[in-house]
């Protein structure tokens, strides 16, 4: 077991910076999810940790060793690939045995370890089959087994669940979590699905365009997104974002809709944040559960128009146009409301987010 440290890691292909100056530390035994949209550099980061591709700059340490120049085989890691990468011409047994053979373990020990891993993963009955004779879920287990069998210091997983159907994905999610718990393993887990990251990880590293946006616990990332990208990426449905102007009259600060002219007065705390904006514009962020819907005008509410209504069973989501932006609001299923209806939306001053209109960074009270 070991910690993993990335320091100023860079990987570029010509002018394309797949990974740009990324630093973070995965503590011993921690489960870290590397999350971000497709093409943001997650796989590249993982491959750099694994040593599959050479770094353009920076340092990576696993345990107390700088591993920059070490071959993958010498880094004491195991990896699970998105498409499983099972050796198609080898049986399941041979797939599991391969990493042990490469380490020149005696035959009996290999057989014992393979059987142990197979039992753990409940794939003992599949040992003689070829990968193509397995279902997606079974292949997934074999891939996991091939990583487990060797007892490595660090597990790397690249979107291991994305090829499974929705139901199986939920099941494997809890199994992987369970393994992590039982083995107390250090895991770096790549996914483009923020829900997976939020539900599984101790910490999540949100990436975009090769840059690390935020590295923190899911709860903190959810509660305090550092910028509009993270705010809109984490959470489902996403945080709603409304671009507004800052209007100051005497000591009162409010937000004004540039299109509709209405004003939303701010609490003193939020006013201080809004006044820190670099260009007099802010982006107001609010999660669906913090908003209240009214059928008449009430103080502190702003006007909007219902766009669609989506009942999901235990919650109904309404999408409301406010100042040209679409805002998600969760409602009790008993509420009856129709598209095009005129409504008023009340914001929770304690739980709203304010981002700089120019830099998109979360505003701090000055």
């Amino acid at each position: 077991m070991a910690e993993v440290v990335l320091k100023d890691v860079v990987k570029n292909y010509g002018n394309v910076y797949a990974v740009n100056n990324v630093s973070f530390t995965v503590e011993h035994g921690e489960f870290v999810a590397l999350v971000g949209p497709s093409g943001c550099g997650k796989t590249t980061t993982l491959n750099l940790i694994a040593g599959l591709i050479p770094m353009s700059g920076g340092d990576i340490a696993i345990g107390d060793r700088i591993v920059n120049d070490l071959d993958p085989k010498d880094r004491d890691i195991a990896m699970v690939f998105q498409n499983y990468a099972l050796y198609p011409n080898k049986s399941v047994f041979k797939n599991l045995a391969f990493p042990l053979q490469m380490r020149k373990l005696p035959k009996e020990e290999i057989a014992r370890k393979v059987n142990d891993a197979a039992k753990l993963l409940d794939i003992t009955h599949l040992l003689d089959r070829k990968p193509r004779e397995l279902s997606g879920g079974q292949q997934q287990r074999v891939a996991l087994g091939r990583a487990l069998v060797r007892d490595p210091a660090v597990f790397l997983m690249d979107e291991p669940l994305s090829n499974l159907d929705a139901k199986l994905r939920v099941q494997m999610r809890s199994e992987i979590k369970r393994f992590h718990h039982n083995l107390n393993a250090t895991v770096v887990y790549v996914t483009h699905d923020q829900l997976e990251a939020v539900t599984m990880a101790d910490k999540m590293a949100v990436m975009n365009g090769g840059l690390l946006q935020q590295y923190d616990s899911p709860a903190n990332v959810f509660a305090h997104p550092v910028n509009t990208f993270v705010a809109s990426f984490v959470g489902s449905p996403a945080m709603s974002l409304i671009p507004l102007d800052v209007a100051t009259q005497g000591t009162e600060t409010s937000l004004r809709s540039p299109e509709e002219g209405w004003e939303l007065p701010l609490s003193p705390m939020n006013a201080r944040k809004a006044n820190a904006s670099s260009n007099g514009k802010v982006v107001l962020g609010a999660r669906h559960s913090t908003l209240k819907l009214h059928r008449q005008a009430v103080p502190g509410a702003v006007p909007g128009k219902v766009y669609t209504v989506e009942p999901t069973g235990d919650v109904t989501f309404a999408q409301v146009f406010i100042s040209g932006a679409v805002v998600n609001i969760s409602l009790d299923p008993s509420v009856v409301i129709a598209p095009d209806e005129k409504v008023w939306v009340e914001f929770d001053q304690e739980r709203m987010h304010l981002f700089d209109g120019q830099t998109t960074m979360a505003l701090q009270a000055a």
């Binding site: 860079v10 910076y17 100056n21 975009n208 840059l211 305090h224 998109t360 960074m361």
Partner: protein
């Protein structure tokens, strides 16, 4: 809370200012990659680069028939003017063009027809495809002998059939006749290679999505419309490559004319390649033949440009380092 401040919108950090690696350091970084290519490279150099250089050199000299290089005499461009001014060269050039174009067009059309007819599943389809491919697989020498026998002026079966069917009064002398010889050889060539076009186009047809055909059918397109608007656009790429490969192969063919007629009668079935061979190894005019080869070389480079372009289409950079 650890935060990477401003990364999303701030101008790119350290990475962008890093200098682009120089070509030399890139070569050094990839030095082991070259080991894989080295054996192939050496063989190719010895047997390709060296001969090309040598041909060019020979084309500027008059070299004695026994090819003793130390006795060669510098003649400048005179070998080139000998080639370009000879009337046989002009005649052979026209024959080469006819040979190349006619063989390509007919082989392609027969292949296309066969591919379309074979696209539908039916019993014995695999066997039929295999049978049609046999001429392509066997040696051109074998094909030449078989057809030489079919065309035989006295006992040839083709002549006998045409008499039996009342098409002609007596057997035609196909090969010893300036009027018929080139066409007769082209038939052999088409026989030999149409199934190549067939296989290529069959593979191409498999890439046409069935859904498109069904969609067109629903839109009221008849068989011809569907062929023209669905199949043809999809076959464009494969057809390009197939035609290019056929052109190159036909332009370069040697065995059929050489074995069947030796370029005769009176040069009527020579094409560039057989003509060069005759000038070199028949008449020992090494310089002239080399100049001829260099001219051919230049023509081929033009072909080559399109060929590589057509073939490397889609060879976009893949992952991997």
């Amino acid at each position: 809370m650890s935060i990477a401040t401003g990364r999303a919108t701030a101008p790119l950090a350290a990475g962008t200012t890093r200098k682009r690696a120089g070509i030399l350091s890139r070569i050094i970084a990839h030095r082991t990659d070259y080991l894989y290519v080295l054996p192939a490279l050496i063989v190719m150099l010895v047997v390709i680069a060296f001969p090309i250089y040598y041909t060019i050199e020979l084309s500027f000299f008059r070299t004695p028939p026994n090819l003793q290089m130390r006795d060669k005499i510098w003649t400048g461009l005179s070998n080139y003017s000998t080639v370009l001014n000879s009337s046989v060269f002009h005649e052979v050039t026209i024959q080469t063009i006819i040979w190349t174009i006619a063989s390509t067009v007919f082989a392609f059309l027969l292949g296309l027809g066969a591919a379309l007819a074979l696209h539908r599943e039916f019993a014995g389809r695999g066997l039929l495809r295999a049978l049609l491919l046999i001429p392509y697989v066997i040696s051109a020498v074998a094909a030449s002998y078989v057809w030489k026998w079919l065309y035989h002026s006295d006992f040839g079966v083709i002549g006998a059939i045409s008499v039996a069917l009342g098409i002609t009064d007596e057997p035609i002398n196909f090969l010893d006749n300036r009027q018929t010889v080139l066409a007769s050889l082209i038939v052999v060539n088409i026989w030999k290679e149409f199934s190549f076009a067939m296989v290529m186009l069959m593979a191409g047809l498999q890439t046409v999505p069935d859904q498109l055909h069904r969609a067109a059918q629903v839109d009221g397109a008849n068989t011809w419309d569907r062929f023209w608007h669905v199949t043809v656009p999809h076959l464009k790429g494969v057809s390009m490559v197939t035609i290019l490969l056929l052109m190159v192969a036909n332009f370069n063919s040697f065995i059929i004319p050489f074995v069947m007629t030796g370029g005769g009668p009176a040069d009527a079935s020579h094409i560039w390649i057989t003509h060069i061979y005759q000038l070199a190894f028949g008449r020992q005019q090494w310089g002239v033949a080399s100049a001829y080869a260099v001219i051919l070389f230049i023509v081929m480079m033009t072909f080559g440009y399109f060929y590589v372009k057509a073939l490397t289409r889609g060879d976009e950079t893949r992952a991997g380092d």
